[in-house]
Amino acid sequence: MALIELHNVIKVYESQSGSITAVDDLSTSFDEGEFTAIVGPSGCGKTTLLNAIGGLDRPNKGQIHIDGVNIVDLKDRDLIDFRLQHIGFVFQAYNLIPVLTALENTAFILELQGVNKKDRDARAMELLEAVGLADRANNRPNQLSGGQQQRVAVARALASRPRFILADEPTANLDSKSTETLLDIMAQLNDKEKTTFIFSTHDQRVIDRARRIIPLEDGKIK
């Protein structure tokens, strides 16, 4: 059974100028260990699809099964907990917590899960080492470069050992060198720990590194 299965997912946004179908009757699946890029031009529905898979946005129709659980049917409260336990997020704008250090940011999810301080700090440090930022553990986000912040965001997403990581245009704000470093790290984690990565991107460098590409146009897979 696939890790994620989408069945006839439709997401329509209502606006003053009319309805916009962001995801149009889309069905697909993702297996464990995939390194997949959802690609397409701006407005094609990449982020909407990612939000739907991540349980951040409910589709108007269709089903999204993750490990056999149809998350569309989950109540808001259960959905928040499901996200916490099963999904890691990497956002385009890093979205680290500015008042916490890199170590604290990485360990934050584990604290939400109720992991004790010793274990969560050990895990956070292990991940910061994996993304090459062990020496910046006590720096706050404003003391890190964009690339470093995004690496901390990846470490944070990985901290709770989620079933998969959703990364929404993770390299959009990074320079070439930072992009390469970040992609190397994610590819290594995918290889070694079999972590599933699903990106939305239109960055060719990401597309080149992806093992599977899902091209999207007008809310449908081309």
Partner: protein, 439 residues
């Protein structure tokens, strides 16, 4: 732990804004504490003044006299009571009195009056009114036909030293009796009202005029043969300095409840006898003084609540701004799995920490202000006469009020919690996706 750390650090994301809120909270608490200390000092000064002047710290009387004011109901076992009190270390002074309602007349007028038949030396050891003689002198012996009246009464009756006045009263046999007295002194009481209502005559003189001694067959031998009541002072164990003396007397009185079991051990055996003694604390003698304390305590807490309520609106506004500025971050927190309970806790904790940060500063400032002014006193110029009407000296010694610190902290906590509710509700209503789109 992260939540507390995050909440604390979040406060300092806008240091100036937080500093203004913390500063205003400090000032509010300082103003409240200072005001409470000042008002308590004012009230205590009035209470102590009244106690010193003529109320005393406590009184003993027979149950019959307490009930009916029957002039025949003299204090039973007076020699035994006095013997016991003299050996009781908790009592510092006592003064037996004979009481009678009378009408005083002079060539210029008449007035109803409470006549106090006193043992001069004992009376002066307990009450300051008997010591504050501004014209002439106080009584010297137990038998002469002398009277000491208050300044206001002297003005009203237009009498002075050596003038004659007539006291008319009912004796114990029910006969109306008049007697001539010479004014030998004029006293300055704590309140004008009391100066008009209370005068002193020698105890044996009035007891005889009332037929009290003869009809009851009381022997006159001994120092204190007869009394309707026995007023006393308790010893102040905390004598420190002049200003604190007054307050500590007050404090010791507050702790000292003599309504039924006096706490004066020497009275215990007497209280069990047939003619029961009634022992009254000053709160029972002058309940208005006790009520004033209670009303003031409640009023001051209400006053403090109003100050803090105003602060709470400032805090609410600050938190709303903070939520608005952090919409994106709050959306991200919800997206990655922070549930509503934890988000609510974060906002509430932030608000409470912001509010509480100013509390110790305000308390410390207030405490210091009161500590200094309770020693130096604050003199109110130009209102001496008005304050004298209420029996208050024009120099007020504010009181340090640690008993209010905990209630104030509780109030800050409650108001901080309440002012967090609206911002927290706003935060909980955020949609993660829409919030993260906010730039």
């Amino acid at each position: 732990m992260h939540t507390i750390r995050m909440a604390w650090r979040n406060i300092w994301r806008s240091p100036w804004r937080s500093a203004v809120v913390i500063g205003s909270m400090s000032l509010g608490v300082w103003a409240g504490i200072t005001m409470i200390g000042w008002a308590t000092g004012l009230n205590d000064a009035r209470t102590v003044s009244m106690l010193d002047d003529n109320v005393g710290h406590g009184r003993m009387l027979s149950a019959d006299f307490a009930e009916s004011q029957d002039p025949r109901a003299i204090l039973p076992h007076l020699p035994a009571i006095i013997e016991n009190l003299q050996s009781d270390s908790s009592v510092s002074a006592f003064a037996p009195r004979v009481l009678v309602q009378a009408m005083i007349q002079s060539g210029s007028g008449a007035a109803p009056m409470m006549v106090l038949g006193v043992y001069p030396e004992a009376e002066q050891s307990v009450f300051s009114a008997a010591r504050k003689v501004v014209q002439g002198r106080f009584l010297k012996d137990l038998e002469s036909d002398e009277v000491v009246i208050g300044e206001e009464l002297a003005k009203r009756l237009e009498v002075g030293i050596d003038d004659r006045v007539v006291l008319t009263f009912q004796d114990v046999l029910g006969e109306v009796h008049s007697a001539l007295y010479y004014v030998v002194g004029v006293y300055d009481g704590a309140s004008n009202l009391l100066e008009e209502m209370m005068l002193y005559v020698p105890v044996l003189n009035i007891a005889r005029q009332m037929q009290l001694v003869d009809s009851l067959g009381i022997a006159e031998n001994g120092r204190f043969p007869v009394a309707h009541e026995l007023c006393f002072r308790v010893r102040d164990p905390y004598a420190m300095d002049a200003s604190l003396d007054r307050l500590n007397v007050q404090d010791s009185l507050r702790r000292w409840n003599v309504s039924k079991r006096s706490g004066i051990e020497s009275l215990d055996p007497l209280a069990l006898e047939e003619s029961p003694l009634v022992v009254r604390s000053w709160r029972s003698i002058s309940p208005e003084l006790g009520y004033a304390d209670e009303v003031m305590a409640q009023s001051l807490l209400l006053f403090m609540t109003i100050i803090l309520l105003a602060m709470a609106f400032g805090i609410l506004n600050t938190m709303l701004m903070a939520i608005l500025e952090r919409t994106r971050e709050l959306g991200m927190l919800m997206a990655i799995g922070m549930n509503k309970r934890k988000l609510f806790a974060l906002i509430v904790l932030e608000t409470i920490l912001l509010s509480f940060a100013g509390l110790p500063i305000g308390l410390a400032l207030g405490h210091s202000t009161l500590a200094i002014t309770s020693k130096t006193g604050i003199t109110l110029k130009g209102v001496e006469k008005g304050m004298a009407e209420f029996g208050i000296d024009s120099t007020i010694y504010p009181v340090i009020v640690p008993e209010y610190y905990l209630p104030i902290a509780g109030l800050v906590f409650v108001l901080a919690f309440l002012s967090a509710l609206y911002p927290a509700r706003k935060a909980l209503k955020l949609n993660p996706i829409e919030s993260m789109r906010v730039l």
